[in-house]
Symmetry: C3
Subunit: 341 residues, 3 copies
């Protein structure tokens, strides 16, 4: 799609310095842009690239406008403005509706006429899918699942029985929602399965990344609240609740029955133990280990530094002496204090 | 299903304090239960909820029976008793048998008449599937795979050629069993593939969580023994052996040729290096790193604590000085000893 | 397939000590080999097994040849020689070509006649697949994807629109290539999606392990260069570049916009933060955390040691005092220096 810069400025609520009739078709980085491209500046590291860019226009904030040699689209907050413009330029809505001849849909389902169900899908009995939702190829939708309006299940997704998605939920390939939680009871020298009779509830505007798994609850439901964004290969265990607008980066795992608050930012490769509570507005940096509840908003970290292997070997082994070292420092301090008189 | 408390007590070998004719239909938490629900108490933290519960009955041990104001089902071990009762109340056996018209099954397969194979499955030549097993939609069963009795492959599972499942194996969506192990040989400045000619053997009563991967062996088989329970997103590399009744929580990885003993409990997000041996009856807590064999049963841990980011920064950087710090403490002790003497 | 040892020696460029007419059909470990098997020795740990082996032949280097009591195939580098021989003995090329009747292929695709597309695949408009490639059952190939010659997509793979694979790319089950990167912009108290308009480019001879995810770029492409080998359950985020011949073990994650150099070896369970550069020829051992760029080739590590839980508890808590401990050692040194002087 080709749109005038004027139209884009109106769309995001900004103003133009330069030619408002310039036509924009694509987005590009400052460095590799050419005519017809719009780019953006949020990171001062790229200021040199701003001056050299061949983009037809650049989205930026007022304080950088004077350094822009091409057309400037000035907004309060360039990143979301860029996101909206890119969405406008690139979104192709599926025009298709109906059910592919190689999909299997149970006759008891209530599927809105505007819904598209792709090839090789299976939709079990009692499923409801509301207007505008798209179920891509190879998806499995279990019994009595509810899918709200304008959801997009991309491809090869497993959405197990009784789970509920609200509106505008976007799910990437390979995601599994509502598999059994890991419930095992020890009974006479072996583990027996604890049935997982809860389901999963997913709020509005949730996005779930590729191959992420969200387990169904043991008795009550696992809950992902409105506006949560989960990256790839994340594990959300049974009975977890993730609060509104929380974002979580890839390869993180949240163990069973933990509650993560609203507006949290959890980095990648974080491990969060079970039965904890993390309050609202907590940031946990990548690779941290969380073994206790976090009761005060703020930024938290753990992890140890990368070192050349030969130094690491020496320091690593000393970790086992830490308590001893602390006691010896204390003893030295006492002895010196005594000798001081 | 609705059953009398008397029937449930007989089923799990317990006794009733209260009305043995009370009817039970569902399970619920102590807090949210209502008439017709059965709940359970294992964690004293919930004792207050026991007294307030609206459940028709509660499964508990003798020592808490006196605090139960509703009907009590008294057993030696409430958790497995609960598991058995929930299984009884909720299990719906698939009544279906046969092959869906949109599944592709090679004519050389030996499939028991009681087996169900769902839509969009592919079952390659030479596969054997024994009585009572269910293959859900979208599963791929490779050449010469053997599946024992009463197995359940839920949906979208990849089970590669020559792998063998014993009886009552339960596999959750997205699991991949028998993909090639990661075998690469360095040959004149590039890596060449080492064919993985072993397979995977999975014992009786094994459960495997969503999107977990179990690689086939390099020459001999990767082995998951009877009663092992694996959670989601676990990596089991080639030539690994996981001993009987060992449980492993989500997002853990076991590198190639490592043996984990029987009756071990491995927490989530644990990383276990290759070519190690972990003996029987070892517990490794969540997020631990295992770089050496564990030769003595017991509970083991590693990981560093979560801190506010500004404190972490200071401590984190000191990790690189640990060996130096240890040597300086030693030097101080020597100097003081000399000055004393 | 059965081949003479002479033929195998010619194939890998080695020489024989013993019977060149001996027939080889299978590979086996030294320990479990029997007549007709070929084995190999690379690790001196197995020297005893060499002397006891029942293998018909053993691949080894000159320096161990004298200890081999069976036929020896002597080569400069036994591991790649073994890999080549195993490949020769075990590779079965799919003889099939064409499109399975239960696959859905858009008429606009350009599919070479030699290509096989299995059951339950979907191949969208504009896809090109070149000679000798095999698309196994249940794969999804998005719009305008390009797949070069002799690629193998095993089963249940999601390869999203506009991604490009060069030649001889091998992809294991459950892999997702080209799902949206994790791009979110904060806009008035909620996160909005940043469209991911780049794709993924994958070079020649790349292998990608089961359930690994490689995200598409935000604006430009995510790039996996020639000869890269990725194990299972790896996350490669948007805009990452992985250099030529780099290998990466399972459950590792690379965050957005990071560049990993050529000929690197990244262990399993490693976490690499975003926007970093790792130069060529870097080895990072398993479970390391990488929060800063690595500018000098070499071997790097982080992580803390596994300990019995009760000792770990004491040392773990001291980590928070590390900076304080370092300062107290400094203070003690100063005081002693003063008292000396």
């Amino acid at each position: 799609m080709q749109l005038s810069l004027k139209k884009l400025a109106e769309y995001v609520g900004g103003y133009i310095i330069g030619d408002e009739n310039c036509l924009i078709e694509h987005v590009a980085t400052l460095k590799n842009a050419s005519t017809g491209d719009i780019s953006f500046l949020t990171n001062l590291k790229y200021k040199n690239e701003l001056q050299a860019t061949q983009a037809s226009a650049v989205i930026l904030s007022e304080k950088h406008a004077s350094e822009c040699l091409t057309n400037a689209l000035v907004v309060a907050n360039p990143h979301p403005a860029y996101a909206k413009i890119a969405t406008l330029l690139y979104t192709e809505k599926t025009e298709k509706s109906g059910v592919h001849s190689m999909a299997v849909v149970d006759p008891t389902c209530q599927i809105d006429d505007s819904v598209w169900i792709g090839a090789h899908c299976v939709v079990e009995a009692g499923v409801v899918i509301q207007a505008g939702s798209v179920i891509g190829p190879g998806c499995y939708i279990g019994k009595d699942v509810f899918i709200g309006e304008n959801c997009e299940l991309t491809v090869n997704i497993s959405l197990m029985h009784d789970c509920r998605l609200a509106d505008r939920v976007l799910i990437h390939p390979g995601v599994v929602i509502g598999a059994d939680g890991f419930g095992q009871a020890y009974d006479n020298d072996k583990w027996i399965k604890v049935p997982q009779v809860g389901a999963v509830q997913i709020g509005n505007d949730v996005e779930i990344g590729a191959n992420t798994t969200v387990d169904r609850g043991t008795i009550e439901d696992t809950i992902i609240e409105d506006g949560v964004k989960l990256d790839n290969l994340i594990q959300i265990a049974h009975n977890v609740r993730i609060g509104k607008n929380t974002v979580m980066a890839a390869s993180t795992a949240v163990a069973g029955s933990t509650t993560v608050g609203e507006n949290c930012a959890i980095g990648g490769c974080v491990g969060i133990a079970g039965h904890l509570t993390i309050v609202d507005n907590v940031t946990i940096t990548g690779r941290s280990t969380v073994l206790q509840s976090v009761k005060v908003p703020g930024v938290y970290s753990s992890s140890t530094p990368l070192e050349p292997n030969k130094f690491w070997h020496k320091n690593h082994i000393r970790f086992k002496q830490l308590d001893d070292m602390a006691k010896r420092i204390k003893a030295l301090e006492k002895e010196l204090e005594k000798s001081r008189g």
